[in-house]
């Protein structure tokens, strides 16, 4: 029997990391990520796990340390948030380029200025183009399961890329939920020790990070793109392999929730999906044909799966908890680009919501659904994003 416990989201992540048997952890604290690495340090101190735990002097060093550990053939883990992820950015582009398959938690928090420790997806979005795989989770249980799957995805010989599990700060990291643990022997069977074909070996010297210019760089970039594209089916396989063990199926690259026969479909990522499901249920009980596509895997972007879920709808509202300033929300941009040229594609509106921790509740979702309905009667796709809950009166 697997053990079910009530625990904080951060602890659930720490338990998943412990169960995955990393050999190296590099940690530098930042809210709301701190509890995760604090709990892991506690497990080490209490003799519950055997790991090289590096207390480094910055997030730049944390990303560098796990990159080095991974190149040396170790399973490695780190975590950060907000400004910390921005400081890691320079390293993470290189980690992906060097095909170093460590796992990290990107605890979603907005970035300065103004300074705020509240949740939105602006921080991990800054790593959108880095080559790091990004998996988003809705609940604490999904965070636990996804971290274990993430190591297997990262270390797949056809993928070999860092994987970041993105989870909403505070809402998931600091709330207590019921979490079912997976027995250690089942995790061990699912996730055998990391044995890379290439690693830093003094007996067989190899060079990581040598110069590679106009004659090879494009090919190496293309190989990452191809690993991402081919990785989609592998990620789905890993998810279903784990679902078979746990009996919990969170979905594949996306979760399509009540999209069958839906006229209006909302697209979202992260914990907001839980609120949207409640709103969808309420609207469905009133006879409104509304559904949700929750994106679980943002990079690689699962446009085929999204298209299959939304192609029967009349309008799609993409709720972006991020903004590419001067354009629109990043998820909406991706989706609209992939819909270009599709016949009978639904109208798409972009909704900016939940920035800097602004509450997104059922009323917000109902408001967004009303906007989506309006789009059926006008060419909304070409308009600016709709800012849900914006207080126009105080805009400077």
């Amino acid at each position: 029997m697997s053990q079910v416990m009530v625990m904080e989201g951060s602890e659930a992540v720490a338990m998943a990391v412990k169960g995955s048997r990393p050999q190296v952890i590099a940690s530098y604290p930042i809210s709301p990520q701190t509890h995760i690495v604090e709990r892991l340090a506690g497990m080490l101190a209490d003799g519950e796990m055997d790991v090289q735990y590096l207390k480094v002097e910055s997030e730049f060093s944390a990303a560098s340390a796990v990159s080095g550990a991974s190149a040396a053939g170790s399973r490695a883990y780190t975590a950060s948030s907000s400004q910390g992820l921005l400081l890691m950015t320079e390293v993470l582009y290189a980690s992906a380029g060097l095909r170093l398959p460590f796992v990290m938690t990107g605890v979603n928090r907005t970035v300065s200025a103004p300074i705020s420790i509240q949740v939105d997806h602006q921080d991990t979005m800054s790593l959108r183009d880095s080559g790091v795989i990004q998996l988003f989770v809705e609940s604490t249980q999904e965070a636990y399961d996804t971290h274990i799957a993430a190591f297997k995805v990262a270390e797949d010989p056809h993928i070999l890329l860092p994987v970041m599990v993105c989870m909403d700060g505070w809402i998931l990291t600091h709330s207590y939920e019921r979490v079912a643990m997976i027995e250690q022997e089942k995790i061990d069977r699912f996730l055998p020790p990391f044995k890379p074909a290439n690693f830093l070996d003094p007996l067989n010297p190899k060079t990581w990070g040598s110069i590679g210019e106009e004659n090879v760089l494009m090919e190496l970039r293309y190989s990452i793109q191809r690993a991402m594209e081919l990785g989609k089916s592998r990620i789905k396989e890993v998810f279903s392999e784990l679902a078979e063990i746990t009996g919990r199926d969170h979905g594949g690259l996306i979760e399509a929730y009540k999209t069958e026969g839906a006229e209006i479909i909302l697209v979202a990522m992260g914990s907001m999906a839980g609120t949207i499901k409640a709103a969808v249920n309420a609207l469905r009980s009133k006879g409104e044909k509304v559904g949700l596509v929750k994106i679980r895997c943002f990079r690689p972007f699962p446009y085929e799966d999204i298209w299959n879920a939304i192609k029967g709808a009349r309008a799609v509202a993409v709720i972006d908890a991020n903004l590419s300033m001067g354009s629109e929300g990043a998820v909406c941009m991706d989706l609209k680009a992939k819909l270009y040229g599709k016949t009978n594609a639904p109208a798409v509106i972009d909704v900016i919501a939940g920035l800097g921790g602004r509450e997104v509740n059922e009323a917000t979702i109902q408001d967004i659904v009303e906007k989506a309905k309006e789009s059926l009667h006008s060419d909304y796709s070409l308009k600016e994003p709709y800012w849900a809950g914006l207080n126009e009166a105080i805009v400077p």
Partner: protein, 85 residues
């Protein structure tokens, strides 16, 4: 040649690349002033100074002409001379 994912290449190949061609000035050791203290060999970032048959010599295949040896030489026995073709 097919690339390896991550651009991983064979290690220990620095001797295959004769980087001395980057140089625009070369160190010349005046042996009559040299006290054989070995400082030039110690500071050379390219390991291009060697002690061969009781004297220090510059390996011009790898010396990039940075001038650290001349700067550090306490006896002023090393002079940087412009490379000319």
């Amino acid at each position: 040649m097919k690339l390896v994912a991550g651009g991983v290449v064979k290690g220990g190949t620095s001797l295959d690349y004769k980087t001395g061609s980057w140089r625009d000035q070369r160190p010349v050791i005046r042996l009559e002033l040299c006290t054989q203290c070995g400082r030039c060999e110690m500071v050379c970032p390219d390991s291009a100074v060697h002690y061969v048959e009781d004297v220090y010599v510059i390996d011009v295949d790898y010396c990039k002409g940075c001038g650290l040896c001349a700067y550090e030489c306490q006896s002023e026995a090393i002079e940087m001379v412009k490379e000319e073709k």
